[in-house]
């Protein structure tokens, strides 16, 4: 099934992410992604799955503006990213929170400073930053490591710092590349619930994972990448699922 399908929501909101016939290739190699078309409505929650090397990270990169498509149209928050001028990029990027697969923490900054970075860059006041960041760090279970630097943290702890940094600015779009890859199941569920909380207040969430148990536990629609094509899979509705499907945001 070719993935030319809008994710079915009420459709009243403009798509936060919209791809039309997007193709990506590196150099003269084969297309990593080809003819990808889909739309993510505001407030939606999707898993992005697929075998390693299927292009999950490339797809996310297109969404967090680290890469431009080789062809096709990518729209974010209603803006065509291929024609964005350079000064227009930062405001857009500040609305996007990203959990990178390799964390990308700055090693000489403390956990607190790393998490505070998006706020600092956006020009927030120091006092506000610190209280806010400390609270979030304790939420992800790192209250004891506030002043620790990444090299002294375990992979799981680094991952949670990276997650805290991605969500600290209450992004409109949250993109996570294997966010539970290095943490135990309990922590993973906790992190996913944090994402759900954000989703409830309107954040559009896309989580790339190959953790099947996560996908089946949370019963969210799944964008599946395989051989450069994208298909949408919905979980079979269950009684619980129907109840959870009540849209948290009126009019959304």
């Amino acid at each position: 099934m070719r993935a030319n399908l809008a994710v079915q929501h009420s459709g009243e909101r403009n798509g936060v992410v919209r791809f039309e016939n997007v193709g990506v290739r590196y150099g003269s190699g084969p297309e990593i992604l080809r003819d990808i078309s889909f739309e993510l409505e505001g407030g939606s929650f999707h898993f992005l799955t697929g075998p390693s090397g299927a292009g999950k990270t490339s797809l996310l990169k297109l969404m967090y503006l680290a890469q431009r498509p080789t062809r096709g149209l990518v729209r974010l928050f209603g803006r065509d990213v291929t024609v964005l001028k350079r000064p227009e990029l930062p405001p857009l990027r500040r609305r996007i929170g990203v959990v990178f697969q390799d964390f990308r923490l700055i090693n000489h900054l403390t956990a607190l400073e790393n998490v505070a970075l998006p706020l600092r860059i956006a020009g927030a006041k120091k006092e506000q930053i610190e209280a806010h960041v400390t609270e979030l760090l304790s939420w992800v279970g790192l209250s004891g490591q506030v002043n620790a630097k990444p090299p002294t943290l375990s992979d799981g702890e680094k991952q949670r710092v990276a997650i805290a940094r991605a969500v600290i600015g209450r992004p409109s779009l949250l993109l996570a590349d294997e966010p539970t890859g290095n943490i135990d199941l309990d922590q993973g569920l906790r992190i996913l619930r944090l994402f759900e909380e954000l989703n409830k207040i309107g954040t559009t969430v896309v989580i790339a994972t190959h953790d099947r148990s996560l996908v089946s536990t949370f019963r969210r629609p799944e964008l599946r990448l395989q051989g450069g094509d994208l298909t949408l899979h919905r979980p079979a509705p269950t009684g619980v699922d129907r109840l959870r499907r009540v849209d948290p945001l009126p009019g959304a």
Binding site: A66, R68, L89, P90, R93, E113, K126
Partner: protein
């Protein structure tokens, strides 16, 4: 907390050479500038002393018998000069001054009595007056055979031309040194950008503007420029002071040419330069770094 910059450019060991390079550049530029200032001041002083003056030289007589004769010829020449329109004063240089001018070559008190020492007459002109030197020379030679007129203005003009050339060269040296310093900053900034490529990409992805990233390079460059500037100026001042001391030990026999006075630059000027040069170095480094960062980052997504 929160004071740390993300790039920590001041921790890059490769960047530590920058203040030293800037210091070397500032040192050379300051020496060139000091040279230009000294030459300029010297020329001014010479100009003041020599503008509107002539020197008339009469052949000296031999032996005791000629003393009276020489005096008579001097008087004749002086009165002719004073009668000439445009000449304000005509003053024979005292014999003692002449002897002291010859001292370096003959030694003190070794002047033989029968040495035909020429008579020199210092002539000053009325301000703005123009004298027909050829006619004056002919008239003088008519009354005192062998009299010669030399226009100090000609020497002065040549000296001024030489001095201006020296100043021009100093200017070119300063310009080249400044360009070299700018090139160093450009290379260092580009190296820093590529060394911290990953962090910079991260900063971009979480919404940093180019200016935010540039600020870290700019702060670093300002500091390097100021530090290098201060070191360079201090070393240059020490060098010029040392040259002044060495020059002070040289006694030039020519009246009005005292080296120490000419080599030393006034304290006020040093203070002004000492403040201004590092600031200029800092600002140039800052502007260069910012321009380099902004232009380089324009090429990334």
């Amino acid at each position: 907390m929160f004071h740390r910059s993300e790039l920590q450019l001041n921790r890059d060991t490769a960047r530590r050479f920058i203040p030293l390079m800037v210091a070397a550049m500032v040192y050379l530029a300051t020496l060139a500038l000091a040279g230009a200032v000294v030459v300029g001041a010297t020329v001014d002083r010479w100009s003041e002393g020599l503008r509107g003056t002539l020197t008339v030289q009469l052949p000296g007589g031999r032996g005791d018998a000629s003393v009276a004769e020489t005096a008579a010829r001097t008087d004749t020449a002086v009165s002719l000069l004073l009668e000439t329109a445009g000449i304000a004063t005509a003053q024979p240089v005292p014999a003692s001054d002449l002897e002291s001018l010859l001292e370096p070559w003959l030694g003190k008190g070794n002047l033989p009595a029968d040495l035909p020492v020429p008579v020199l007459i210092d002539v000053t002109l009325d301000p703005g007056a123009r004298i027909d030197l050829v006619a004056l020379q002919r008239n003088l030679a008519g009354v005192v055979p062998g009299a010669r007129v030399s226009d100090n203005g000609v020497y002065l003009e040549r000296l001024v031309r030489l001095a201006r050339s020296v100043q021009l060269v100093a200017g070119v040296v300063m310009l080249l040194v400044a360009l070299a310093a700018v090139a160093i900053i450009v290379f260092a900034t580009r190296a820093g950008l590529s060394m911290h490529r990953e962090t910079i990409e991260l900063l971009h992805l979480i919404g940093a503007r180019d200016a935010y990233i540039a600020r870290q390079f700019v702060t670093n460059a300002l500091w390097h420029g100021l530090l290098g500037g201060i070191i360079g100026v201090v070393l240059a001042a020490a060098t010029v002071a040392a040259l002044g001391v060495i020059a002070g030990e040289v006694a030039l026999p020519v009246a009005g040419l005292r080296l120490p006075e000419q080599l030393s630059i006034s304290l006020v000027l040093w203070l002004a330069g000492g403040l201004l040069i590092p600031v200029v170095a800092g600002l140039v480094a800052m502007g260069t770094a910012r321009l380099t960062v902004m232009r380089t980052l324009r090429q990334v997504l």
